[in-house]
Structure formats: structure tokens, C-alpha cells
Symmetry: C2
């Protein structure tokens, strides 16, 4: 089923406004609604759509988790359009909507969840490119109209994303493991830092920074996500509590084999995560380059890498405010590391692996 | 006390060889020893020192945790030098050494721990710049000779690191929280991914990748580190188990306030981590730039940023193998974001915040 529009986007936050921008860029007519006049003003100002009344082909509900069921129900009652939402949890809102509307209306509802976001929120952070190449879960229930499923799939594609089909329950179990559990444990690790004497934190390295980064996310939003996915999260948290009990017993008994087994399983776990955007994992090697800490030097490094002809897959700058030299970590294809190291050294850069 | 050398480095792995390289670069004579002839050949070939017999001023023991006490004891018995080690845990080896040598010998031992490393190991991964600007814990026991403390402090400084003094027990409590607990919980989160149906992992985003990255570290080494820091880790793991019980009860009771309190403490925790290298946290803002995926474009972006005159604090490239455009995330001082966005847009770049 073709997405011809108009599309009504309910909720002009980060996701709703980004969807509006992506659809407008594809020439699809977009109407925007939001309880916040400020959000609406910003989103329309960015060109994500207009606040006019339309008879929509598709309604996209992009509101916080606590208001999903209410807004989906309203859209099914007040329009004859296909309705989707972009919430992080799928089964609980579906249950709530099913209790409110008849089966004919429910057929028009197909949930979805783009795997994209930002640590920032609101329409100012929006971008039509937000979904480029990202997975976008489409989660039809058993009574969903195949045309409605096709239209929501088309929405994901028009926004530049890759649709992936899950049942609502499967989706929730998947994100409990790949998103909600990591978020909660990152929050617990970070929370334990607040008990530490300040001077102990001087020994914080890159590891603890990486593990805790996502714990800085909006607690108001995350509290709603967690409350909506209690069932799947409870199972996983019980599993982790079991793992911790195993660890505590192993530490008390000096049972190295049990500790090693848990560490080995962790190594395996890091290897099963697919490459970025769901693509295959690319074998990457890293090297470090010492770079004098002013803007021109970084540009010179990238210009040299260009001339050397090696594609940089990722960059990390370890910036030291106390010293005039920073360490730049470059990730490149494994078989390009030697060549890049030699070529950079011959151009006078100090490198190490 | 001046570090004049010679220095005997026992263990020519990543840390030992890097220390040799840093000392040689400062003109200090270095002798290397290793049970592996291969490691010794590589390390001497890199110029980290020579395998000759010397009468050392300082012995640096850089062997795996399980062999620390044995090699420190040997060095105290066979030389009159000051002896240090660079192991990740300090109290357990000190206890073992104290039981083996008399108090006069023990006065010459001062433990230390540079906060630097790499996911790679062995002398090939070594670099004289490995410690540049990093914290280096110096952990004197109560009977340590002040001259010995001064000499180990000088070692850290000559290697380019910033010495930070802790008691051995304090050091171990600090790294249990900032390093060993994050490692174990990252391993548990990663380990739970191995149970998942493969298709669920398509929904893995950047969050779970960051949380689990360190879980890929060498299990053989980490098992030794954990076994040597059982006491401090047990307390922290019990705390986390308590947190998980609170969470499970809160989920069962739909007690949002308890969940919110744990999430809020996580946000606080991310804010107390000092800036990289222990420096102050700099307020940074981020912006995204769409960059065509070939080498010259990245160089052009950095050249433009240079001309615009904004210093890039960090870079992250979200590289999508399936599309010709990547998203480059730039971190710059908060008050420079607007200027950089406008200036890049005016040069034809597509940006978003």
C-alpha cells in the first residue's frame, strides 16, 4: 500500500517532528498536533508540517509512553485512517487499546518502533535524517489489516529506515534485553559512584564512562518505558540476580572456574551483537595518534589519512585539558592498520597500536 | 629522589614494554626480563631496553596478578633496589609479600597502578605514550621508605602520568567501584545477549554496545584481577543485588517512585565522574553532520571546522555500511554549537542537533 498522505503526526517532540521532516522531504503532506503550542510552533517553523485539519491516510502517534493508549484510541475513533505509534513498548498499549475499541477499528492499528533517538529531546533536536539506515520495528497484532501493515512498513521506508517485523510481545522481550536491562544496570553502576569518596573517582577510566553513559538519559521517560515492560524486565532482572548470587558464591569459595565462565559468556555476548544498523560486523582494528591540541592538527591528520587512502570507520578523541597533546583513536579495517601506521609515521605523526 | 636508573623491568608485556619505551625516551637505562623469550625479543627490538644484567636503582614488576607477589618478593631478596609493581590490585600482593620478607626489605616496596591499558595486550601493543596524562596510583604501605615513595612517584612522572597517592586498601576499594564492578556488570548484560533469539539482536542500539564494550576484555586476566579484589567487590555486588531486589519489588508493586529514585541516582552518578584524565568536566554540546561515506569528505569537514575556528572535543562516526552517507557526531564547547551549526550549514553541510 502506497503512502500518499496526508499523514497526521500527533506529538511534535523529537520523533514526531523528525518523522514530519522526513515525510515532507519525500513530498508527503503532513499535519501536526501537540498539546504544547510551543512544540507545535517550533515543529511547523522547522518545516515538519502544518497545524491544519486534514482527513489523514495515516495517523502517527508520537507521545510519551503513558499517553500512547489514550491517543491511539482517540485516533481510531475520530478518523478512518490507519493508526500507528512509535513508542518503545508495544504489548501494554495494544492491550489498553483493545479494551477500548471494537475489532473493526483495531484492525486499522499497527504499532511500530524506530530504533533511533538522541540524548536530547524536543522538536529542536529533530532531523529528517534521524532514521537513516536504522532498524524500525513494525509490530502487527493478529487481527491487523494487511493493508495497514503495508502502510506502516511504507512509513518506515519513506523515513529511510529498515523495517523489521516482530509480534508485540516478541518486540518487548527483545528490547527488554537489548535496551531496558542495559539501561537499568548502567543506572545501578552509575548510582554506586554517588557513594564513593570523590578522590576515588580520579581512578575512573574509559570503561566506566562507556558503561554508564546511557544512565544520563531522561528518568521521566525511562520510568514510563520500564513501567510498560515490567513482565519481560522482571524475568531478565531475576536472571541477573541469579548471576550475581553465583558470582558472590564463587568469590566466597575462590571458585575461579565459575567466575571465568561468566566472563567467557560476556565475551560471547559482545560478539553476537550485529554491526551498526543491523549490518554484518566489520573486522576493525584501532590505532592511536598523538595530535597537538588545536583545530588545524586534526584537519591535517584527516587530510593525511585521505591521501593515504584509508577509510576511517570511527574516531575517538581522548582530549586531555591538562596537556597540549591529545590521543586520537582511529578505527579502520583490520588489514589497513599496518599501512596507515607506517604511512602516518612517515609523515611525522607519532602513533601506537 | 631522582630516577637516574638503571631500571629493571620484569615482564615485557603491554605495560612493562611501554614503561621501558617511556624511560628510554627520557634517557634512563632499562634492563628487561621476561619468561617468554619471544616477548623479550620483541620488547628489546622495539627499543624498550636490553636483556643485560644490571644493578638496578628501581625494579618494576609488570607481570599478571597471580605472579605479582612471587616476583616482588624475588626482587626484594635479590637486589637492594626500590621495588614497585603495576598490578591492578594492591592489598592482596602486599599481604603476600609481607609474609615472605623482613621489614627492612618491605620498606623498599611501594606498589603502584597506572590507569592505562588497551584492549590489546603484549609488547607489540606497547607505546611510550601509553601513560601520557593518565592518573597513576602510588600506594605506599605504612612502613614504606619515603625515598622509595619518591622514586616510584618519579617513575610515574617520567612516564608522563599524574601520580595520585592512595593506601593499598583505598586503591582497591576505588577500582572495585570504578573498574571491576562495571566490568562484571557489563559481562552480565553481554552474557544475557547469548540467550536471545538472533533476530531480537537486530534491535541492538548504541546503548547496549557502549554498556558491553569492556566485557570483551581478556577473561584470563580479569579472572585474576577479580580473585585478588574479592573483599571490596563482594560489598559492591551485595549492594547491587539489594538494588535489584528493590527494583523487582518496585516492578511488582508498580511503584514508580522507587524506580524513578534509582534512575535519578544513576543520572547523578554519571555527573560525578571527573573529566577525562581526572580533569574538570567541560560542558560540551553535540551536533550531527551528514557526511558522504568516502575519505575526502571527512577531511573536508575537519578542514571546514578548522577554518570556522571551533575546537572539536570529540568525534563519533555512525558509519552505515548499507548507505552512502554517515552521520558524524561532533562534541564542542556548549557555547560554540550554534556558531558551528550555522557556519557548516552555510558551507553546504547538512547538520542537526
Amino acid at each position: 500500500m502506497r503512502l500518499d498522505g496526508p499523514v497526521l503526526v500527533v506529538g511534535a517532540g523529537l520523533l514526531g517532528t523528525s518523522i514530519g521532516l522526513a515525510l515532507r522531504a519525500a513530498g508527503v503532506e503532513v499535519a501536526l498536533a501537540d498539546v504544547s503550542e510551543e512544540n507545535l510552533r517550533i515543529a511547523t517553523g522547522l518545516g515538519a508540517g502544518t497545524p491544519e485539519d486534514v482527513t489523514p491516510q495515516l495517523v502517527v502517534v508520537a507521545v510519551p509512553p503513558d499517553h500512547l493508549a489514550e491517543e491511539i484510541t482517540l485516533a481510531l475513533r475520530e478518523t478512518d485512517a490507519v493508526v500507528t505509534d512509535v513508542g518503545s513498548v508495544k504489548a501494554a498499549p495494544l492491550r489498553a487499546v483493545s479494551a477500548q475499541v471494537d475489532e473493526a477499528a483495531l484492525r486499522r492499528y499497527v504499532g511500530s518502533h524506530p530504533m533511533a533517538g538522541s540524548e536530547r529531546s524536543g522538536p529542536f533536536a529533530a532531523s529528517g535524517a534521524l532514521f537513516d539506515g536504522r532498524p524500525w520495528a513494525v509490530t502487527p497484532h493478529e487481527h491487523a489489516d494487511p493493508d495497514a501493515v503495508a502502510l506502516v512498513t511504507a512509513l518506515a521506508e519513506v523515513c529511510g529506515a529498515t523495517p523489521v517485523v516482530f509480534t508485540p510481545a516478541e518486540h518487548d522481550r527483545a528490547v527488554a534485553r537489548t535496551s531496558h536491562l542495559p539501561h537499568l544496570l548502567a543506572a545501578l553502576v552509575a548510582g554506586r559512584l554517588t557513594d564513593a569518596p570523590r578522590e576515588h573517582l580520579a581512578l575512573s577510566g574509559q570503561g566506566v564512562r562507556d558503561v554508564t553513559r546511557i544512565a544520563a538519559g531522561d528518568p521521566g521517560l525511562w520510568q514510563q518505558i520500564i513501567a510498560a515492560n515490567t513482565e519481560a524486565l522482571t524475568v531478565l532482572l531475576q536472571d541477573v540476580r541469579g548471576d550475581i548470587d553465583v558470582l558472590l558464591t564463587a568469590l566466597a569459595d575462590d571458585d575461579r572456574a565459575r567466575v571465568a565462565a561468566l566472563l567467557d559468556r560476556g565475551v560471547e555476548g559482545t560478539a553476537v551483537i550485529p554491526g551498526k544498523h543491523g549490518g554484518p560486523t566489520v573486522a576493525e582494528g584501532t590505532l592511536f595518534v598523538a595530535v597537538p591540541d588545536h583545530p588545524g592538527e586534526l584537519a591535517r591528520l584527516f587530510a593525511d589519512a585521505t591521501e593515504i587512502g584509508v577509510n576511517i570507520e570511527d574516531v575517538h578523541i581522548d582530549h586531555d585539558p591538562a596537556r597540549p597533546v591529545g590521543l586520537v583513536e582511529l578505527s579502520v579495517a583490520t588489514d589497513a592498520v599496518d599501512h596507515l601506521v607506517e604511512s602516518l609515521e612517515s609523515r611525522g605523526w607519532t602513533t601506537h597500536r
